[in-house]
């Protein structure tokens, strides 16, 4: 029973994603799934650990290049490629993490940005002989056709991405329940106290950093396979704010915020840019409006309403119990 309740939210959310797949074009669906995986790491860092990161593109690029190097130079199996992308995410975040997580939140944001810039220049210039600079690594034609699910084709890729996203969400939902999740929140609230309870504040942040950025790298790996092309532009500083924007748009620290935010953001851009030349104007002011209207982002504002609505539905089914909620103490 309680097991079912645990999964119910996820099932509903991903059920709705299937509906989207039916009604909206494939490129849109693929994009929102990958993008939301991209964002959930940022969301976790910001909402649970209190780290705002303008450098998520760095880890995205790490994952993507991990995958791309494998697929371009070594092998053709996209699944292995994705695995390599994930591993490179773990390696890089474990390497830079120990230096970065010591920093205060706002500075943390900027060292990550610097990392993104450095990775950009590395890939665009320094390593241009292997990365082909901003022309990018073209691997669309290098991928093997895999049995069962051929993820080099957009429609079958969607199935894979969908299942992956489901897994990622289950993981993050579990993380929220875990003691680790509580520790992260605690570290955000009062790091000193956490240390004096005997937890290693540093260790917890480092773990959170690695987990979140590996997720981001995973999204990068998915991008690599999906687009069949990886270029340095992925880690360009001009796009550093995107995941943070979507995080906040969706609702910081909420589980489904990244999904809702991605749908809103990509939808806003893709749809408005179709019908209106000056889409920036609309998107910009829409963003301001959403921010002003709801402090907690779209999902953060929507969720309590939904919850209340569902509760009311339940109450009409059940005999009314005395309202215990308003008691002052």
């Amino acid at each position: 029973m309680s097991v079912l309740r645990w999964w119910s939210g996820l099932l509903v959310a991903f059920g709705l994603l299937v509906l989207l797949r039916i009604f909206l074009p494939l490129p849109f669906n693929n994009e929102i799934i990958i993008f939301s995986i991209y964002v959930i790491g940022c969301n976790y860092l910001l909402g649970r650990v209190g780290f705002i990161s303008f450098g998520q593109p760095a880890y995205l690029a790490v994952g993507a290049y991990g995958t791309a190097f494998y697929l371009y130079y070594f092998g053709g199996n996209p699944y292995v490629g994705i695995l390599v992308g994930i591993v490179s995410g773990i390696v890089v975040s474990a390497l830079v993490g120990p230096l970065f997580v010591r920093l205060r939140s706002d500075y943390f944001a900027l060292v990550n940005l610097a990392l993104a810039v450095i990775i950009f220049f590395l890939m665009q210039k320094v390593l241009a002989s292997v990365t082909f600079g901003d022309n990018g690594l073209e691997l669309l034609t290098k991928m093997d056709v895999t049995p069962i699910l051929d993820i080099s084709r957009p429609d079958q890729f969607w199935v894979f991405a969908f299942v992956s996203a489901f897994g990622v969400w289950a993981l993050y939902k579990y993380l929220d329940d875990s003691v680790f999740g509580a520790c992260c929140l605690a570290a955000k609230a009062n790091e000193d106290k956490l240390r004096f309870l005997g937890y290693s504040n540093y260790g917890i942040r480092l773990m959170a950093f690695v987990v979140a950025n590996t997720t981001t790298a995973f999204a990068g790996a998915l991008y690599a396979v999906h687009q069949g092309l990886v270029s340095p532009e992925m880690s360009s500083p001009a796009r550093a704010a995107d995941p943070v924007v979507v995080t906040i748009l969706g609702g910081v620290g909420t589980l489904y915020g990244p999904l809702v935010g991605s749908i809103a953001f990509v939808g806003m851009k893709d749809l408005i840019s179709k019908v209106f030349g000056h889409w920036e104007l609309i998107v910009g002011f829409l963003l301001v409006f959403v921010m002003l209207a709801g402090e907690r982002g779209i999902w953060g504002s929507l969720e309590p309403l939904l919850r209340r609505w569902i509760l009311r539905q339940r109450e009409t089914d059940k005999p009314v119990v005395a309202d215990a909620g308003v008691k002052a103490r």
């Binding site: 909620g325 308003v326 002052a328 103490r329």
Partner: protein
């Protein structure tokens, strides 16, 4: 129209959905020292916050000398000479003690620190220290000192003796006595001997309701108040 320096009638206050105060009414005359006691979570701080304009009451009215305070902003209320010293000991930690005091001066237009430094000589040596480094008791002195600049007509103090050494507590008693010559005070306090020593009137709160109002000097004794805590 009454000319009470503070009159609260039927005040109800809540944080979101959870109600905290129910129909609280208090009155404070000029130059009166009013104590407010109650258990933890009784709503004492909430009462002060609603008076000072940090929390909008859900019902009831608050007036000062006939002027309605409900709906005014906190700085407007402070500008009327009603100063609030919160419980949380938050000083402006990035500023020095001197700058903290300067802010008090700027707000009230009173640049004469002598009374404050006379009340709390300790502050004199601390003037150039960043307030964030102060010890608990030193912060308390700074908070009160900052608030009494500009000679407020009503001072709302939330647990002033918390964290102060006994000698300072005794001293603070004198300070309050001195202050009450020119202002009215509402003091939330757990330290009964102290509050009973200076108060003209004591209100007791419990679970958000006013449960006692002691005005008789005979009754203002720790033993009498004990049960309300």
């Amino acid at each position: 129209m009454s000319n009470q320096i503070l009159e609260v009638k039927g005040l109800n206050a809540a944080y979101g959905e959870s109600k905290v105060l129910f129909d609280v009414s208090i009155a404070v005359r000029d130059k009166q020292v009013v104590g407010c006691v109650g258990r933890n979570g009784a709503g004492k701080s909430t009462l002060l916050k609603s008076i000072a304009g940090f929390l909008r009451p859900t019902a009831g009215n608050v007036t000062s000398e006939g002027v309605d305070l409900v709906g005014r902003t906190a700085y407007a209320i402070a500008g009327m000479g009603i100063k609030y010293v919160p419980q949380d000991k938050k000083v402006f930690s990035d500023l020095t003690v001197r700058e903290n005091l300067e802010l008090g001066s700027y707000a009230s237009g009173d640049y004469n620190w002598d009374p404050v430094l006379a009340f709390f000589p300790k502050l004199k040596v601390l003037l150039d220290r960043k307030a964030g480094y102060l010890s608990g008791g030193e912060r308390q002195m700074l908070m009160i000192g900052r608030a009494i600049l500009g000679k407020p007509k009503l001072l709302l103090v939330d647990e002033p003796t918390e964290g102060l050494a006994p000698s300072i507590v005794t001293h603070l008693k004198d300070v309050f006595r001195e202050l009450s010559k020119s202002a009215a005070l509402v003091i939330v306090e757990q330290n009964l001997p102290m509050i009973c020593g200076i108060a003209n009137k004591i209100y007791a709160l419990n679970e958000g309701r006013l449960v006692a109002e002691l005005t008789d000097p005979e009754q203002i004794r720790p033993e009498v108040c004990e049960p309300y805590l």
